[in-house]
Symmetry: D3
Subunit: 126 residues, 6 copies
Amino acid sequence: MENNNRYDLGISTIKKMVSNEALENIEQMKTISPDFWEMIISFGYGDLYSREGLSNTKRVIVTLTSLITQGAFEQLEFHIRAALNVGLTKDEIKEIIIHCSGYVGFPKACQAMMIAGKVFEEVTEE
Amino acid sequence: MENNNRYDLGISTIKKMVSNEALENIEQMKTISPDFWEMIISFGYGDLYSREGLSNTKRVIVTLTSLITQGAFEQLEFHIRAALNVGLTKDEIKEIIIHCSGYVGFPKACQAMMIAGKVFEEVTEE
Amino acid sequence: MENNNRYDLGISTIKKMVSNEALENIEQMKTISPDFWEMIISFGYGDLYSREGLSNTKRVIVTLTSLITQGAFEQLEFHIRAALNVGLTKDEIKEIIIHCSGYVGFPKACQAMMIAGKVFEEVTEE
Amino acid sequence: MENNNRYDLGISTIKKMVSNEALENIEQMKTISPDFWEMIISFGYGDLYSREGLSNTKRVIVTLTSLITQGAFEQLEFHIRAALNVGLTKDEIKEIIIHCSGYVGFPKACQAMMIAGKVFEEVTEE
Amino acid sequence: MENNNRYDLGISTIKKMVSNEALENIEQMKTISPDFWEMIISFGYGDLYSREGLSNTKRVIVTLTSLITQGAFEQLEFHIRAALNVGLTKDEIKEIIIHCSGYVGFPKACQAMMIAGKVFEEVTEE
Amino acid sequence: MENNNRYDLGISTIKKMVSNEALENIEQMKTISPDFWEMIISFGYGDLYSREGLSNTKRVIVTLTSLITQGAFEQLEFHIRAALNVGLTKDEIKEIIIHCSGYVGFPKACQAMMIAGKVFEEVTEE
């Protein structure tokens, strides 16, 4: 029971950040490992994203930069969509990727920009 | 000659971000490779940090996160000091590191926090 | 001739670890580069996996963790299937991934869990 | 209050794994960021190391492998000492590093073996 | 205007290295972010590949090795084709990958060899 | 006995690449783990560096680039000295690092250039 507050806080935070459709997509993790799902929500969104001291916009900048730097491109689309939802503009996201090019090199920055381009196109069409 | 504007712009930008002492420290690169020094300033500070579209505060968040994610800890002190100079608070820098822990794991986040702690202590004493 | 023992030992070791089908799949490497194929078997399975001093179960834990940490997800399915063959349970593999989340961050751990989930489903259906 | 159980469980777990001296060393984190210290203990040792389903020996193998693979060598000594405390032998730790060489390459494996050699020597002298 | 020379030099250099078809493929970046496209050409091909002091063959070896080491496999096909165009043979490219295995580990080297095998097959058929 | 040829070939190859002093330095590995030492020589220098199909100069370029890309800076001095011994000039080594900046980002390239600068100074004084 003791974790309920962290989990509930996490769910409430993630719901403000991503669409219902995106949340449903990642909820397949619940079937594979309920314990891991609980950790993602309680730690990632309950403990981290719900903290004060840094705006959600800035937290998303940290998240995007870290994904690009480590080449975790499978997770990038989800977080670019979250970035748009918390108020970053397409141009700011492109600037983040451009700034990354000097710190992670062009190969990863290029891959990130291709994914961003694809997401921006889909978002426009939706 | 054509690069002068980029280099001059870069020097003017970096001077707003770091102390004279810090700038002198990294200028040893000029002796090892003048060409590489020129690139660091022209590309890193003339092309990237001087761009519009993202505040310097947010650019520094990208830089710090990328360094922590790739484990480039030798460069972290320089950029934490720059972060303080462009207006990030100590608490915000700690929040960036804490947020990183979920995305890069605790070992790199711990190492970053140790370095931040050392810089904050020195800054207080200066 | 001198390498025959290492190669033969490697083939004998890998045959205990993976299905014939999986072995046939990776044997396409033989066509691309016979020398590289020889090294994979002689060094990877003849020199490393055949050593005493650490159980095969523990060697597989090292392998899985290293793949997850470096984000080598294209190779993960092959080694998850090998892990099941040498006696790790599905629950233990999930625990390895969950433990990894604190050391490599959630993005890579999530990607690993998705792949594990897919493999476990296929294995059940086979 | 709700986190107390996770934190207390974490402290109880880490005390079984490392010496008092080692614990005191890392407690300097408490001064730099009490919140981050709380997370390290509650999440790292309360949520992860305290879980069932994988022996502590195997969890330490995951930890060591992940540190070696990501090149987090500043943290390696602490965890090699913990590995010895939970019952891994020096020879098993060397085997883990040797096995890693095929998965992360020799540079990182060499660096890990040098650190292990230094720790083993100190442990013998203590 | 000042960047024209760098951009023009970059375009002239990349045209010597890749086919028209390959260049057209990556020009989609121009639509997503014209600024980023300008940087890729001006910095990557105008500033770096156009420098004297290292043959293009050796620069391509640096590029391939860096991509393999960081696991940037999405970009590898483009640069393997460029490598063939500047005069590296298929056998030399395979040797680069084989040599990498000792420095980055077998998982990334295997993935690189699979991609090289696919490109070599397509090149033969073209 | 069967490995003798690989080991002897490796020793003969490494002796052509590094000074006696450098070889003695790394031979401390023999004391920590004789088996691992045997692998470094037999695989790294017997199997890889002794292969035909790529000049030693080009193999060293692969090695340096891979070390810089993965941030294995503790090993870099040893291999920069080997690079000078097999005939790369200081200027070529600087060019390799400069070219890397576009592919791995400036932080790792800067760190590599600092180390190269230090080695070049020591070499001049020797």
